[in-house]
Symmetry: C2
Subunit: 105 residues, 2 copies
């Protein structure tokens, strides 16, 4: 298999609102997003969520495929960030309001 493959994620214009909302409707994934949003850049390994890593990896996959999170490999860790610019361009106000609301509740 080819090495150094780009991690698959949708282009800005391909991001779909139902998929974004579904991705964020899971409390574990929301917690992940909050932590990434707070820190800016977080490696997958930095989450001490009590859960097998295959399950956690699944949640990252959902977040990535929905366009909420961007992941890139750096050495042998995967760094995640929230795609604020793309989300804001496509769905103005949505991601900010959701994250702000989730911080309080």
């Amino acid at each position: 298999m080819a090495k150094n493959m780009e991690i698959q994620q949708p282009l800005r214009d391909e991001i779909s609102l139902p998929k974004v909302l579904h991705a964020l409707s899971d409390p574990v994934r929301m917690e992940i997003v909050l932590k990434i949003a707070r820190a800016g850049q977080v490696a997958c390994g930095a989450f001490d969520i009590p859960m097998p890593k295959s399950t956690l990896s699944h949640h990252f996959k959902v977040l990535r495929e929905s366009g909420v999170v961007a992941s890139r490999r750096e050495g042998n860790v995967v760094i995640n960030s929230v795609r604020f610019d793309d989300l804001e361009a496509r769905f103005p106000g949505v991601i900010g309001a959701i994250i702000a609301a989730a911080r309080w509740n």
Copy 2:
């Protein structure tokens, strides 16, 4: 069984963000919400969505139980409205941004 029962829906403070996002993550339900939002008040029967009424009723139930939609019986129709005030109070900006985004996409 008792007659004239109130239709069950969560109090403002019981509305949960994950449930709201899940409710809105379905395209059929989003379409329902858009139509209600546009018109203010819409009876269940006013939707010409090609789908059995039991399925449609299920979607209304999800919207109601998540706190997105309020339903009240008036004569023999059920009138639906979006709970803007409650949603705005609990999750400022969320419902407005999502509906605005959904209108375009």
